[in-house]
């Protein structure tokens, strides 16, 4: 009796897939065409793909944007994973005062997205540091300045990698994820390790890390894509093209004038899509089985 509706299912799915695929297929075709053909309704693939890729990579300096994005995404991913591992370990395997408060302190940051803090964060990162200790003390010694007035000093990191790496190194999600994961590891393992005389560091590197490969992998992949896709913060804090990331760089390639080379731009958009797409293809089995679901719970 189900057979009767099969053609409806196929029709709806084919229409759905076509609409969802159309923009990307369109971009792919246009990336292969000559400059003249790009501006026509022609949807026959051309032979210009390599030329367009080369042009956007070299002339429009996409290579520079891609390099910056890789540096930032890899630095944040590694840093975040290590810091979250450390914090998770401290919260599970040690006893110390104010533990609950510290855990709450970390979790509460989930409620404060960086975007909401855009303006003060911009001030903090871009304003210059105090010129001297005397200047700093002149401001700091009076609590009225510190508590009631906006800070006049910052880190002076505008237009540097620091500005787009350091603020994202700590992660409430990561810490929470590792904490939950460690709580699920049998207690006896930690006891055995300690009785055998393992130091906490040995326990971390020899036992916890090998046992958490899946969690580490999942977190790393999610973080990499998250950082790779970031747009607002790099746009605001990086004003020099040499340090700009690829998501914002793409918009710089479009430019503002009428002479936009859309063939190049489409080639650039496709190149930008490749790293997250690789992650997706690598993990598609897990995606299909609901990996994303189990990780978020």
């Amino acid at each position: 009796m189900k057979r009767r509706y099969d053609w409806v299912i196929h029709t709806v799915l084919i229409i759905g897939c076509t609409i969802i695929m159309f923009p990307i297929v369109f971009a792919l075709i246009k990336a292969t065409q000559t400059r003249a053909a790009v501006m026509t309704p022609n949807l026959i693939p051309g032979a210009e793909l390599m030329n367009n890729l080369r042009a956007v990579w070299v002339e429009a300096s996409l290579w520079k944007f891609m390099r910056n994005s890789f540096v930032v995404a890899i630095a944040v991913t590694i840093g975040k994973t290590i810091l979250s591992l450390f914090a998770g370990m401290a919260l599970v395997y040690f006893r110390f005062p104010f533990k609950r408060f510290i855990f709450g302190f970390i979790l509460l940051t989930l409620m404060m997205p960086t975007e909401v803090l855009l303006v003060p964060l911009f001030d903090l990162v871009s304003q210059q540091p105090p010129a001297s200790w005397t200047a700093f003390w002149a401001w700091f010694h009076d609590p009225r300045h510190v508590l009631l007035e906006p800070s006049p000093f910052g880190l002076g990191w505008a237009n540097t990698y620091w500005a787009i790496i350091v603020p994202f190194l700590a992660s409430a999600t990561g810490t929470f994820l590792f904490r939950q994961h460690f709580m699920a590891i049998p207690q006896s393992l930690a006891d055995a390790a300690r009785i055998d005389g393992a130091t906490p560091l040995q326990f971390l590197t020899r036992i916890l890390v090998p046992m958490s490969v899946n969690t580490i992998g999942a977190l790393a992949v999610i973080q990499f894509v998250y950082v790779w896709d970031q747009y607002l913060w790099p746009k605001v804090i990086i004003r020099r093209e040499d340090f700009q990331v690829v998501q914002v760089g793409l918009n710089l390639i479009i430019g503002t004038g009428e002479g936009t080379q859309w063939g190049y731009v489409m080639a650039g958009a496709l190149l930008t899509l490749i790293p997250p797409l690789l992650v997706f293809i690598l993990l598609q089995e897990q995606f299909m089985r609901g990996f994303a679901l189990s990780e978020s719970k």
């Binding site: 196929h10 309704p41 979250s84 001030d123 603020p167 906490p200 326990f203 998501q247």
Partner: protein
């Protein structure tokens, strides 16, 4: 909480926690405090002036000379989020329902449906910007050839708004469908089959069984999609329309595709009015907190698993 504290050390846990605590304090808590302080100041980044003005920034948001614009933007943010959530989730739910049926080629369909998971807001917007470019874009060349029309997608208010919504929905489809497909695997098939034997039609089964069974997943997706439409949609709007164009009355006080986050960026960063932008940000934070609290309070209650 079961105690697993096996290692004894007075300082080691603090050494392990210090980097995370330092970064969260400096880059989240300190700016959060600064946002409060700034919101009481009239400050201009360009001129470097700062003057204490009390609650004026907050009152300006609702009664000041530009309050009409802010109210319009708040309404638009609400409409934008509503469209992204309702349209996006409806399409995802329907496609996920069909793609999880036992039919030949289901795997291929699923792959084609969920790949937009890899799209970033900027890439999605860049492709849309070309596709809907009024002069050289594929859609208009096609429409021109067939019907002799060239809609001004980016300058016509309601078209621009719908275009931004479409790009956002498209970008998020993969994510939503992945989660719905995963949820489908946890639904026992018996209910659907039992209903079918009792003579319930496919539509009836969809609305009476599938939709309620997926309600907890829908609930989760509503919140992730809300966050997306509040913040991540910034990239889409910035690349496609820059918040414009000005609408018809009563939507003529600001660009129709401006959402709150975009206005904060424009006033706080582009125009350097950091005091006012900080106050506006706190208003957004207030809404986010209400949403988060609602999520925690009602998140577990809306789960429907049947009797088991």
């Amino acid at each position: 909480m079961k105690d697993r504290a096996v290692f004894q050390s007075r300082y080691l846990p603090w050494v392990l926690l210090l980097p995370s605590l330092l970064i969260l304090s400096i880059f989240i808590y300190f700016p959060a405090i600064q946002a409060f302080i700034l919101s009481f100041y009239k400050s201009n980044l360009r001129l470097g002036t700062r003057r204490f003005i009390g609650f004026e920034n907050f009152t300006n948001l609702f009664t000041g000379p530009f309050s009409q614009a802010y109210k319009q933007i708040m309404l638009q943010s609400f409409l934008f989020s509503l469209c992204v959530v309702v349209i996006g989730l409806s399409i995802s739910l329907v496609l996920a329902t069909f793609a999880s049926q036992k039919i030949p080629g289901a795997r291929i369909y699923r792959l084609f449906l969920i790949w937009p998971f890899a799209l970033s807001p900027a890439v999605a917007a860049t492709i849309f910007a070309f596709l809907f470019n009024p002069e050289v874009g594929g859609v208009n060349l096609f429409l021109n050839e067939l019907f002799g029309i060239k809609p001004r997608w980016l300058d016509t208010p309601w078209l621009a708004f719908m275009l931004v919504v479409s790009a956002a929905v498209w970008k998020n489809l993969g994510y939503n469908i992945v989660f719905y497909l995963a949820a489908f695997q946890n639904i026992p098939k018996e209910y659907d089959e039992a209903a079918a034997i009792d003579g319930a039609g496919p539509l009836q089964r969809f609305f009476r069984i599938t939709v309620p069974m997926l309600s907890s997943m829908t609930f989760f997706l509503v919140f992730t999609n809300l966050t997306f439409s509040f913040f991540d949609a910034f990239g889409i709007i910035d690349i496609l329309t820059r918040g414009g164009p000005i609408g018809y009355p009563p939507f003529d006080n600001a660009g129709v595709s401006s959402i709150m986050m975009y206005r904060v960026f424009q006033e706080g960063i582009e125009q350097g009015k950091s005091g006012f932008a900080a106050a506006f940000s706190l208003f957004i934070l207030f809404i986010i907190m209400i949403i988060t609290i609602l999520q925690f309070r009602y998140g577990s209650r809306s789960v429907q698993y049947g009797d088991n």
